[in-house]
Amino acid sequence: MAQTWIKMRRSWELYLLVLLPVLYLIIFKYIPMFGVIIAFKDFNVVKGILGSPWVGFKHFENLFQSPNFSVLIKNTLLISAYSLLAGFPIPILLALALNEIRTGFFKRSVQMITYAPHFISTVVMVSIIILMLSPHVGVVERIFTFFGLPTTNFMGEPGLFKSIYVWSGVWQEMGYASIIYIAALAGVDPSLYEAARMDGASRLKKILHIDLPSLIPITITMLILSLGNLMAVGFEKIFLMQNPLNLSTSEVISTYVYKVGLLGANFSFSSAVGLFNSVINLVLLIAVNAIARRVSENSLW
């Protein structure tokens, strides 16, 4: 005990350094966490968070009974699952392919070009989507017409919203997402390849029996993280891609929270929706992590 005290006194400069970030965490992270109690209150601006009356689970009951509820959950889950199915394997394939070719001009160009879209802002990305898909002048419509395919107002078609969202996301992020797998492949012991070569393994065999197994730990980590975020569909891009025509398939929990809460000034109800969403995310994360720990040795904690 006395020793800890001496150590603490010796580290006083470290505590001084960390003071500002800790204050930041308390003010900007922990106070809003406590502020979540407004989900169980009828928040009133005049009375403040503490003075507003408790109403128990009223807002949650309203949420579960509202006709929007099933649509919101369905859209959120479908968009997430679709993004995961398309967006998760493609970066791994890209990394495996890049790993097969020799370092040189071609490889460096492929990497440089495919990483680039990651740095395009959401606003610009959505603008690009809208411009390229716009009726009559958009290049996609012209390409479709050229090949004799049927065209439509792509952004106004509710059935196409998810595909546009997911594949533009793949276009933007596949290169950058592959970096982490490329890094993992770079760490594979070269003697494994030499041994495989001695045994006469083909390229495909080497990919299947050396590359893929060495990607498993990082893949599971990434998969747990993505599954844990299944209900947390990014607000920014969806919000910008929404228009009155596609709202039936594009309204997700986060955009609903923003509209009801900030635009409609319905703070308590909106907090309840947000809280419901984060609780589900947390449960998913813990569940997926537990499963991963049971079936393989890889888990987050």
């Binding site: 350094l17 500002l20 106070i31 809003p32 070009i113 411009l131 290169g175 083909s202």
Partner: protein
């Protein structure tokens, strides 16, 4: 003698390449060709929209409206760019974005180092409590509304502080910095400096930070790109037009279709048609991406390094 070695080297290299040619079986060559083809197609798919947008931005309005631009610019005209620089809204947005990015990134770096350095010191009591306190914020958060109410109660609504303080550091970056401090800076340096009477703050300032330039560069770039590309905080916290960052202004012009009258004012009436507005949008996209594009070739390797350090965890 030298020629001898050289020629022997050539022979060796020639025989080696012959050997690989013989050993590379048919199936492998087919697979490799397939891989090259696949990568080529992917690269072209990524590249095409980027080239198309740039070409459209310097083509004539008529050509764009008539759908004559496919890959290369048609009837080159820079009028759209000229009118962009006449828009006060856009120029204010550009200026604001630079302010948000420079100050915001400085705050981010300061807070990240202040948090990460003590976390990297193994002999500081309470280190694990700090770590847990930080990690909890990754899994639990108050959410949008409570954070908004907090910013409102702090009277930061509609001020620049609302874009600087609520995201003062990212936990992910702190972990990267902490890992770097722990693994890449030899502990002998700290022991030696302690013997010379150097305390923690001085050690951080004179030894750790100068040795951490690569990781600081990566962090600066990650944070700066984040600030430059952000629009959501401006959307919820800002009301005054003179505070709007570029991305917010762009959203109004590109997605909500509210062009700045100033941009259309000096163009001839015949050009104030849909065609010119279309070209203007392409040019706006190019102008918004310029700072990131200029930076990109220089920093691409650093970004890769940043992701790699981050993936080590620990």
């Amino acid at each position: 003698m030298t020629t001898n070695i050289k020629s022997r080297g050539q022979i060796w290299r020639a025989s080696a390449s012959n050997a690989t040619k013989i050993r590379e079986p048919f199936g492998d060559r087919v697979l490799l060709t397939g891989i090259y083809l696949l990568l080529g197609v992917i690269t072209l798919t990524v590249l095409y929209p980027l080239i198309y947008i740039f070409s459209s931005s310097i083509s004539s309005p008529d050509a764009v409206l008539a759908g004559r631009v496919w890959l290369f610019p048609v009837e080159i005209s820079l009028r759209a760019y000229k009118s962009i620089f006449q828009s006060t809204q856009l120029m204010t947005g550009y200026y604001n974005s630079i302010v948000y990015t420079v100050v915001g990134t400085f705050i981010n770096i300061a807070f990240t180092v202040l948090m990460a350095f003590p976390l990297s010191q193994r002999n500081m009591p309470g280190r694990s409590i700090l770590m847990i306190m930080m990690m909890i914020t990754v899994f639990f958060s108050g959410g949008l509304i409570p954070t908004y109410l907090l910013v409102k109660n702090l009277h930061m609504l509609d001020t620049r502080w609302a874009l600087w303080l609520p995201g003062a550091f990212s936990v992910f970056q702190v972990i990267i910095a902490r890992t770097f401090f722990q693994s890449s800076i030899p502990t002998e340096l700290q022991e030696a400096s302690q013997i010379d009477g150097c305390r923690d703050i001085r050690y951080l300032w004179s030894i750790v930070l100068p040795l951490s330039k690569p990781i600081l560069a990566v962090m600066t770039l990650m944070y700066a790109v984040g600030h430059w590309n952000a629009y959501f905080d401006a959307l919820i916290y800002l009301r005054s037009e003179n505070l709007f960052p570029l991305q917010y202004v762009l959203r109004n012009m590109l997605i909500l279709n509210a062009a700045d009258p100033e941009m259309l004012a000096n163009t001839a009436q015949s050009l104030r048609n849909k065609g010119f507005e279309e070209v203007l949008k392409y040019a706006l996209i190019v102008v918004a991406c310029v700072p990131v594009l200029i930076m990109y070739p220089f920093v691409q390797k650093h970004f890769v390094k940043g992701v790699m350090i981050g993936s080590l965890k620990g």
